[in-house]
């Protein structure tokens, strides 16, 4: 029997993911500088700028002049961050922003509801893809995971506890109820992508980090010292909302049991602590494709179906899994 090969491109999607993460993150750094450039341009007083401001002005002029004529108007095309942004007249918002606003104001403001339509549609198809492919906090959190791996290699102990993943639905519910009672979208203050977007803007354009940066550093410490990628796995309210929306996603990563050799690299690499080896992805999977990229025997692929396949048992290339199933589960945990 010829082995079933997954489409060759899936193996390289993880690199593409890092490209999109880097692009989103560098845009969040670029946009505040673009805004500064616009304000300098609007002031019509190049000679009065300080040297550092002149540097920013010159750099931004060099970068943007091939593409635009009038920075004051043309650079308005892209504004905002991943929490809520404007992209060439198209306004996009995080679904959590919309839900949070519904709870805090207890009204439906249709033009704003429509801004979350495209993200929601994509989430219904691709699941929790935002968490793996766009979220600017993911960019930092994954680097933080790598950093903790270095620390471990250097002999230091990093946190590797496990909690119940359903805690984050509780955080989401609590955040929304608090929003309703306080009359303000407080859930935005505990949602890392919103915080990262804002804080980068504050630090560049307003001259210093704000209060949210303390919270964000706290989550990094939590990830490092308590649980690997703990905030996204167990606490993130936005991740909870995306998980609910992506429960019946159409594109799923599935295991090809014939190719699998039970090496368990997929379980080790999975940032969200899922169990690809035993076909257990669930609604939490963010389609980040790290497991596909690391699989040595091409045993993971994308399938179009709305629910996970039941546990297919040990891989046909493997030997240990069937012999000592409990032991492997213990090792994974």
């Amino acid at each position: 029997m010829t082995p079933i090969k997954p489409f060759f491109l899936w193996k390289h999607l993880n690199k593409l993911r890092w490209v999109t993460l880097s692009v989103v993150f560098s845009m969040l750094i670029f946009l505040p500088y673009a805004h500064l450039y616009q304000t300098y341009e609007a002031a019509h007083a190049y000679d009065l700028l300080a040297d550092s401001e002149k540097q920013i002005y010159d750099t931004m002029e060099t970068i943007t002049s091939p593409f635009i004529n009038d920075p004051e108007e043309d650079l308005d095309a892209i504004k905002g961050n991943t929490w809520s942004g404007t992209f060439f007249g198209l306004q996009l918002s995080d679904p959590l922003a919309v839900i949070g606003q519904i709870f805090s104001s207890l009204t439906f403001y249709t033009p704003f509801l429509l801004t979350a339509l495209i993200p929601i549609a994509f989430t219904l198809v691709f699941g929790r893809f935002f968490c793996g492919w766009i979220c600017p906090a993911t960019f930092i959190y994954e680097l933080n995971t790598n950093f903790s791996a270095w620390l471990r290699r250097a002999g230091l102990k990093t946190g590797n506890r496990r909690f119940d993943r359903r805690v984050k639905y509780l955080v989401l519910g609590t955040g929304l109820v608090l929003s309703a009672f306080s009359g303000s979208v407080v859930v935005a203050s505990v949602y890392p992508p919103a915080i990262v977007g804002r804080e980068i803007y504050y630090s560049i354009a307003l001259g210093g980090f704000g209060a949210g940066s303390i919270f964000f550093v706290g989550t990094l410490m939590f990830d490092l010292l308590v649980a690997r990628r703990g905030f996204c796995r167990y606490l993130c309210p936005g991740g909870a909302l995306y998980s609910i929306l992506g429960r019946f996603r159409i594109f799923r990563i599935q295991r090809i049991v014939e190719n699998c050799n039970d090496c368990e690299k997929c379980n080790a690499i999975c940032e969200f602590g899922l169990d690809p080896l035993r076909d257990s992805f669930g609604q939490e999977c963010n389609n980040c494709t790290a497991c596909i990229a690391i699989c040595p025997t091409d045993a993971l692929t994308f399938k179009v179906q709305i629910s996970d396949a039941p546990d297919k048992g040990p891989g046909h290339l493997g030997r240990q899994y069937s012999k000592n199933k409990v032991g492997i589960i213990e090792a994974a945990a």
Binding site: Q101, Y109, T115, S184, G197
Partner: protein, 180 residues
Amino acid sequence: MSVVALALAPTTTRAAKNQPSLRFLRPPGALPEEEFLSRCIHCGQCGEACPNRCIKYFGLENGLTSIDTPYIIPREKACILCMKCGDICPTGAIQKVKVELEDILDKVHMGTAVVDKQLCLSWQGKSCGVCYRACKLPDVAIRVGYMEQPHVLENCIGCGLCERSCIQIPQAIKILPRKT
């Protein structure tokens, strides 16, 4: 540092919320305070659209509910009424306002200017009139009389350009924010 101090001292924060000693303005076209807070999603686009960079963001100094919401301190930098923040606001917390006199008078209520006659140079006999010249709506919001003494009219929307430009220290003309 002050942010950390406030985070560690919740009583201070609560006092600031219950008795607002902070004198700040919301961006032009903002809804009344309660409704504004319930609509605003703290995305920061208004500040990013502001060509004058006058919109800043709260830390914890005005209470937890207004964290990361926009404000303007007119003495530091005042609103030039370009209305770009309203155009970009996705939630309608800041209304869309046309740059026309009727629409601005109809929708923009940031506050009202108040003249301190003891401090004002013109009222003390040295003709000045800087606030009148700074005003975007001269003779609609502010009028000058004898010796260029400023008289604030009831159409003043409180953009704060007069306060920003006042040459007295401390400023003789101040914006009293709308208290709703």
